[in-house]
């Protein structure tokens, strides 16, 4: 027999001697006639053999300390040099202004990547007083959260969805679609949020300079004043926004550039000339008046956050957004983000506006929940049905309901009072459940409740939006005096 998909899991179990004697006999019998399974089993053994050979082919390390020392020595000297330069600048003038001037004097180096930053192997020691000539060290940009669909484009790869844990190099561009956003970290306290419907190119990221080019949309930036000696700038059309030690957002929409600043200071430049110097809180627009918008804070900027586990949530359609702490993610699709190990309190906000509190246990391995698993954690959705549509349907069955009352009066001539008929209409519009109760606690007679139930179940309502709908129909039964 051939032509079926090989039973890889069973064949692996056979290869690893994990099958029971009976299972082994059955599979061996099958193997006599199944060419595809024989071939798969041979490939399993082939892989085991070659992998074993690859393991034993490992040669001893040849990298010696002198080689690494040369590379890290240049790095250390560069750090010391930059600290001294920054210290002098801080004494000379106000920090923000001084750094802005310092940044303007820095040449724009070619973007570097991780291995480019390593100095060539050398034993030579450059005296600390001599300014280093090594290329600036690259900064890893790690994706810490992705909500919805954000596309990553790099010069070397096909476009693909951005994922938490991706490390980005200069040249990468990110495109967040509607209801999508991405959070990136460049170091403790420094990172940015690419907001929905935005596109940004990572132009440069090294120890001297981080530059983003915002092509459209908005980026919210956090720049740690203490943890970086790195200039930080966002280019937007003909403008450039330079900052250190601050929190700000830059918007770029059809040539209109805007800046919202909530902490620290930034300079706005055009063609290298300063057009605005801002101190928080402030807003600026290339075409006033400026309409302020909130500045988002990137997640997981703490030191060591690269070690945090990842929470992955596939979002059911009924959920419009997630809230975690002070963050709100409007998502179409999934949400993935790094967060500290332990209990995570989050709120699911449904499209109907209902808020549902959830607490998830995120262990060191992280947590991934499928759409169905998230759905199971949420209470039954609440839909919406136009009150007028309910009234129309009720009017059409009113004679039948009246008939139920009259029939019940034949057995209970004194039957009267205020009742409530609770009706639950399912997604398809059919009545799923009905029950009747009295306002004054009297139990309604069975023949009345049975009859009412039959009547409402026979007549479908319009389909509610968003999920089942439950409503009450007040009924006032009054005897008519003869």
């Amino acid at each position: 027999m051939s032509g079926h998909a090989p039973k890889t899991a069973a064949l692996l179990a056979l290869h690893e001697d994990r099958l029971s004697p009976a299972g082994r006999r059955r599979l061996r019998s099958h193997l006599r006639t199944c060419a595809d399974c024989r071939r798969e089993l041979a490939a399993i053994r082939l892989y085991a053999q070659v992998a074993d050979e690859a393991r034993t082919a490992t040669t001893p390390a040849r990298t010696d300390w002198a080689r690494v020392e040369g590379a890290i020595g240049a790095e250390a000297r560069r750090r010391r040099f930059r600290r001294r330069a920054l210290g002098m600048a801080t004494v000379a003038a106000a920090a923000a202004v001084a750094l802005g001037v310092g940044l303007a004097a820095r040449p724009d180096a070619v973007s570097t990547t991780a291995s480019d930053s390593a100095a060539p192997p050398t034993r030579s020691v450059v005296p600390p007083e001599v300014a280093p000539e090594a290329a600036p060290a690259s900064i890893q940009m790690e994706v810490t959260a992705v909500a919805g669909r954000v596309t990553l484009r790099t010069p070397h790869e096909r476009p693909r969805p951005l994922a938490v844990g991706d490390l980005l190099a200069p040249g990468a561009s990110l495109h967040a679609q509607a209801d999508a956003e991405a959070h990136l970290k460049m170091g403790a306290g420094t990172g940015f949020v690419l907001e929905p419907e935005s596109r940004v190119v990572l132009v440069r990221a090294d120890s001297e300079q981080v530059t983003l080019r915002l092509e459209t949309g908005r980026v919210s930036n956090a720049v740690d004043p203490a943890g970086t000696e790195t200039g930080y700038r966002v280019e937007a059309g003909p403008y450039e926004v330079r900052a250190t030690g601050t929190r700000f957002a830059v918007g770029h929409d059809g040539g209109l550039v805007s800046v919202d600043l909530t902490r620290g200071s930034v300079d706005v430049l055009r063609s290298g000339r300063r057009v605005e110097s801002m101190r928080a809180p402030a807003g600026w627009s290339s075409a006033p008046p400026h309409r302020s918008q909130p500045v988002r804070q990137p997640v997981a900027l703490a030191e060591g956050s690269a070690e945090w586990p990842v929470l992955r949530l596939s979002t059911p359609k009924r959920v419009r957004s997630w809230e975690l702490g002070d963050q709100t993610f409007d998502v179409a699709g999934g949400l993935a983000m790094r967060l500290p190990e332990g209990k995570a309190d989050l709120v699911a906000i449904e499209r109907t506006g209902r808020r549902i509190d959830l607490t998830l246990d995120v262990d060191s391995a992280g947590l991934a929940l499928s759409e169905a698993e998230v759905g199971a954690l949420l209470p039954e959705p609440v839909g919406h049905l136009d009150p007028e549509a309910i009234s129309t349907t009720l009017r059409s069955i009113r004679p039948s309901l009246q008939g139920c009352y009259e029939r019940a009066m034949r057995r209970r001539p004194d039957l009267h009072g205020r009742y409530r008929l609770e009706v639950k209409v399912g997604r398809s519009g059919t009545v799923q459940r009905s029950r009747m109760r009295s306002d004054d606690g009297d139990r309604p007679p069975n023949e009345l409740t049975d009859c009412m139930s039959r009547v409402v179940h026979r007549r479908p309502f319009p389909e509610p939006t968003g999920g089942p709908v439950t409503f009450e129909v007040p009924l006032n039964f009054q005897r008519v005096s003869p």
């Binding site: 193997l31 006639t33 992280g366």
Partner: protein
């Protein structure tokens, strides 16, 4: 690793001797992991150096919340992946520098055997190059480096179940690709012959050659 923490603390404060000690202790591990990711490659020592430059640069952010080895594995994997990404965009010379991987500790092997094994290992890495980054990482760390799925999950920041799934599908892709790899045709043919449950003696051989499907007439 408890006894490592004082060393790490000293390195974080800029103590070069402490950093050197960390390098000496972990050099072989990093070199091994890099080689298992890259396969036979003349770039290995450059990547190892790059890993330690990144360790030096980032050790200040290591707070001991995870094991140092996990942190180091993650950093090594990331640096190696960046190297592989760049390498993929460069023109390649196929199977150059064969002596790079010849182990010095097995002199008893004939040069032919060493060469043949080296070809097989290179074929394996050609196939690994076709896997996605995530599958390759899971496979290399599990099957070649021998790490348990739980530790890999901590390294790559994914649930254990995800790592197992990646492993399963990575192997499945690998089996299909290895079976058609020309450099492995001979070994594959021999393994097919040696399979358990092979047809009874006298029955026609259903697999006249590895890599080709048996014809209807060949089947028992």
């Amino acid at each position: 690793m408890e006894d490592l923490q004082p060393l790490i603390d000293r390195a974080r404060r800029g103590d070069e001797a402490a950093f050197r000690e960390i390098f000496e202790r972990h050099r072989d591990t990093v070199a091994r992991v890099v080689q298992r990711f890259l396969g036979p490659s003349a770039d290995r020592d450059d990547v190892v150096q790059d890993v330690f430059v990144h360790v030096f640069r980032s050790i200040g952010s290591f707070r001991g919340e995870a094991k140092f080895s996990t942190w180091l594995y993650r950093l090594t994997a990331n640096v190696t992946k960046m190297h592989l990404r760049r390498a993929q965009s460069r023109p390649r010379i196929a199977d150059a520098a064969i002596p790079e991987t010849v182990p010095e500790r097995e002199p008893a092997e004939s040069p032919e055997a060493i060469l043949s094994r080296d070809r097989r290992v290179r074929a394996l890495y050609r196939v690994l190059d076709r896997l996605s980054e995530k599958k390759r990482t899971a496979l290399v760390l599990h099957d070649l480096e021998g790490l348990p799925a739980k530790e890999i999950a901590a390294i790559v920041g994914a649930p254990v179940l995800t790592v197992r799934t990646r492993l399963f599908y990575a192997r499945k892709e690998l089996y299909a690709a290895l079976a058609t790899e020309p450099a492995l045709r001979e070994t594959m043919g021999r393994l097919l012959e040696d399979l358990p449950g092979r047809p009874d003696a006298g029955a026609p051989n259903p697999h006249p050659a590895a890599g080709s499907r048996p014809t209807k007439a060949d089947r028992p």
